[in-house]
């Protein structure tokens, strides 16, 4: 009986220990999830300079893999999104960002489409006004009136 109890105690002890140790191992795993989420979020914001029209997340180029690793290490050190983006912009320029920042050199890029739309709208209004004027009632000149009469007479 005593032996049985001992075995049970020991089994319980080992079970408990395995639970404790697995709980300890889960700690870094939890941190990894946060880091991985940050890596994923940043990878979708950054351009792969080798393939240019892909984000680092989409690209399988070696440089993209290296950059992802670099981002992962910075994220693991607890750097913020902005700090990591700044780090890469300092090396690769604004082009590394998939969403270019709004500044003097990118003003045309940001405002160009709206300027074009505005120009189109103004053009449309001007054209419609002009056309309106053309169809507006205007008395016929004597020559025009005679021509109209001639044409109508010819038909009948």
């Amino acid at each position: 009986m005593k032996l049985n109890l001992l075995i049970r105690l020991m089994a319980g002890f080992f079970l408990l220990q395995s639970v404790i140790s697995s709980a300890e191992e889960a700690q870094p795993l939890q941190a990894d999830v946060v880091v991985e989420a940050q890596v994923q979020r940043l990878s979708e914001e950054l351009r792969c300079l080798v393939c240019q029209n892909q984000t680092i997340a989409d690209s399988h180029a070696e440089l993209a893999q290296d950059l992802k690793q670099e981002i992962r290490e910075m994220a693991a050190k607890g750097m913020s999104d902005q700090a990591i983006i700044d780090y890469l912009v300092a090396r690769y320029g604004d082009f590394v960002r998939y969403r270019p920042p709004l500044k003097a050199s990118t003003l045309l890029l940001w405002l160009g489409p709206f300027a074009l739309m505005l120009a189109g709208a103004i053009g449309l209004v001007v054209m419609l006004r002009r056309r309106e004027k053309m169809v507006a009632d205007k008395p016929l000149t004597a020559v025009e009136a005679r021509k109209v009469r001639e044409l109508l007479d010819k038909d009948s």
Binding site: V50, Q52, L63, E70, A90, R91, Y92, G93, D94
Partner: protein
């Protein structure tokens, strides 16, 4: 005739934009590193792994840093030009062997000739990231104060060497 004037102007502006666009290379991204200190590193040499090379060893001299690799096809294109440049002894040329192995790099230099004073081994590409390397070969002109004066992305051509790099080197050396 007047009503054709506006479309003509718009057409000419478009032609202007497209003509400029044709001559731009989308792979040439302006480097934010130009005008800044060359990032520090301390990397082992290709032929003497126990020794290292660092940009601060070059302070007081104008020098070129050429990033290359034995796996890089375009490096093969510019290599004869680099060999000729090193023979002219106008400016010291250092290499950074990017994500390469010693054996392959050494073999490559044995075949094509070695234009470099020394080669730093950036085996994992870490220093490459600091230098914003994304398309080997890349070449940096670094001045006496250790500031990057120019960055060539892609292979050096005779034209680039004659019209851009050498005049710049001479100007920097005179400073």
């Amino acid at each position: 005739m007047k009503r054709f004037l506006l479309p003509l102007i718009i057409f000419l502006v478009m032609v202007g934009f497209l003509a400029v666009g044709l001559h731009l290379d989308p792979r040439e991204v302006p480097s934010p590193l130009v005008g800044k200190l060359a990032p520090a590193f301390d990397l082992p040499l290709l032929d003497q792994p126990e020794k290292t090379f660092s940009p601060k060893d070059m302070l007081g001299q104008v020098w070129l840093l050429n990033v290359w690799a034995s796996w890089c096809g375009a490096c093969r294109e510019e290599h004869p030009l680099l060999v000729a440049l090193s023979k002219a002894k106008l400016v010291p040329l250092y290499g950074m062997d990017y994500k390469d192995t010693r054996v392959e790099a050494q073999q490559w230099l044995n075949e094509g000739g070695n234009p470099y004073v020394a080669n730093a081994m950036d085996i994992d590409g870490r220093v490459g990231i600091d230098y914003g390397v994304y398309g080997v070969p890349e070449t940096y002109v670094i001045d006496k104060a250790g500031v990057i004066a120019y960055k060539q992305i892609g292979p050096i051509t005779e034209q680039v060497l004659r019209n851009k790099i050498m005049p710049l080197v001479e100007r920097l050396q005179a400073q």
